[in-house]
């Protein structure tokens, strides 16, 4: 019971276009974007985006929040690793949210960060569905925030 990533188009290997469906209270972890461009558009509901600074090399303290905003329906956002890291959440307890994401070049691994310590952890991202077909998850390792 967490948000789902649904691949719509893989643009001949040049980009990934996917739709994310967020239930009430669902949020991602803090993550980077593996040197890719990341565009996001809200199709339904609202999503809160919190930007974080990259942690210090051997950081061992709470991560620094840069800014936060609530993105409304039809609003767009952009991020890449030089801008920083972010967490995206549906903070509503009554409404679901849907967002459209474009990543170029496509990537299937990223780093997630523990807000309390700045420690990072590489994760592989999985799809709930691809081109309308449910993707059965084979791996039993921890899956992906985004």
């Amino acid at each position: 019971f967490r948000y789902t990533r649904n691949l719509v188009d893989n643009g001949n290997g040049k980009f990934n276009l996917m739709i994310l469906c967020w239930g009430e209270g669902h949020g991602s972890s803090i993550h980077d974007h593996t040197d890719s461009h990341c565009f996001m558009k809200i199709l339904q509901g609202n999503l809160k985006e919190t930007l974080f600074e990259w942690p210090e090399k051997k950081g061992n303290g709470e991560m620094t929040r840069k800014s936060e905003r609530v993105l409304r329906e039809n609003q767009c956002a952009y991020i890449n690793d030089s801008i920083g890291l972010h967490r995206v959440e549906n903070i509503s307890h009554t409404e679901t949210a849907v967002s459209l994401h474009l990543y170029s070049p496509p990537f299937n691994t990223c780093n997630t960060f523990d807000q309390r310590t700045g420690h990072k952890h590489k994760v592989t991202m999985t799809f709930y569905s691809q081109f309308g077909e449910r993707t059965v998850c084979v791996s039993t390792r921890r899956g992906a925030p985004r």
């Binding site: 019971f1 967490r2 009430e24 209270g25 949020g27 991602s28 972890s29 803090i30 967490r87 903070i91 509503s92 307890h93 009554t94 997630t112 523990d114 807000q115 309390r116 310590t117 420690h119 952890h121 039993t140 390792r141 921890r142 899956g143 925030p145």
Partner: protein, 313 residues
């Protein structure tokens, strides 16, 4: 709700009156025999007459499966709601609840319970008596501790606890075998090893009781006053599997950290019979961090197997 609803639509199965400004849903509901889904989110429900009192006797009590009352003004779970025996999914997200009634255990078919975004400060242990509960959402509340009994929720697959006031978790949480998702971000979880939190030295009665129990000193009810016989029957076993000790009232609360997949360290609360009681892994080393890590090794590997997606975030 309009009068005569059940006369016009006797076969009604799904009713969505969300966002209509309703302040109460009255007796019109009681005669809808086929209703299985009722969505009434984002209204002005919460006052005394919000749900009809006779709900328990209506056909609705057996037929209703899904009830969504999120985004209303409930300051307590309406007692009438607890009579909905067939309910599988309940959402009271974004209301003004300060607590969860112990009678929540009456909803014994409940699989999905969403209580995020309220002002809940504590969780009653009776919540653990829901045998089919698979998804429990308690995020964005004011919860300070989780009762260890919650580990009895054997069907639990997803537990959302983010944005609360938790400093530690009960170690029994590791017993949730089917738990796949756990969110804990936004809690003031203790990050450093904390030595014995509080320890009241045991009374003479406690010390004597411990000796009677651990050395199996024989006694019969005629040997002792009834109050002492009762006292001796309340001995708790020290949860440390390597220690055969017992305790009555005086126990040590100690926080130990458990690693998940070598990545996240969760502070878990252990109860031990005395400050000297610890697993044989800990040596005479005075280093607090090494003690916590070595003691946690065995638990960590077990936990890593069971918990697949820990979303500390």
């Amino acid at each position: 709700l309009p009068a005569g609803l059940s006369q016009w639509f006797p076969a009604l199965e799904v009713l969505d009156v969300s966002g209509t400004g309703l302040t109460e849903m009255g007796t019109e509901l009681l005669s809808l025999p086929c209703l299985h889904t009722l969505l009434a989110k984002n209204n002005r429900l919460g006052g005394p007459g919000s749900l009809p009192k006779e709900l328990g006797q209506a056909p609705l009590a057996r037929s209703l499966r899904v009830l969504n009352l999120s985004g209303n003004r409930f300051s307590e779970v309406p007692p009438a709601l607890l009579q909905l025996r067939g309910l599988r999914s309940l959402s009271l997200g974004g209301n003004r609840l300060h607590g969860i009634p112990p009678d929540i255990q009456e909803l014994h078919s409940l699989e999905f319970l969403y209580l995020g975004g309220n002002f809940i400060t504590a969780i009653p242990p009776e919540l653990a008596k829901l045998p089919s509960l698979r998804y429990l959402v308690l995020c964005d509340n004011k919860i300070q501790s989780i009762p260890p009994q919650l580990a009895q929720l054997h069907s639990l697959r997803s537990l959302s606890l983010h944005n609360n006031l938790l400093t530690y978790l009960p170690r029994e949480i590791l017993n949730l075998v089917h738990l796949e998702e756990l969110s804990l971000r936004g809690n003031p979880l203790v990050v450093r090893f904390v030595r014995d939190l509080t320890y009241n030295p045991p009374s003479l009665q406690e010390l004597a009781g411990r000796t009677v129990k651990t050395r199996n000193v024989p006694y019969t009810p005629s040997d002792l006053p009834e109050s002492l016989v009762r006292y001796l029957s309340l001995a708790s076993n020290c949860p440390n599997p390597k220690c055969g000790g017992v305790y009555f009232d005086s126990c040590v609360r100690q926080i130990k950290f458990v690693d998940f997949c070598g990545k996240y360290r969760l502070p878990l609360m252990h109860y031990l019979c005395s400050p000297e009681c610890s697993s044989p892994y800990s040596s005479a080393s005075q280093s607090s961090t090494s003690q916590s890590e070595s003691d946690s090794e065995d638990e960590a590997s077990v936990a890593a197997h069971r918990m697949q997606k820990v979303l500390l975030g």
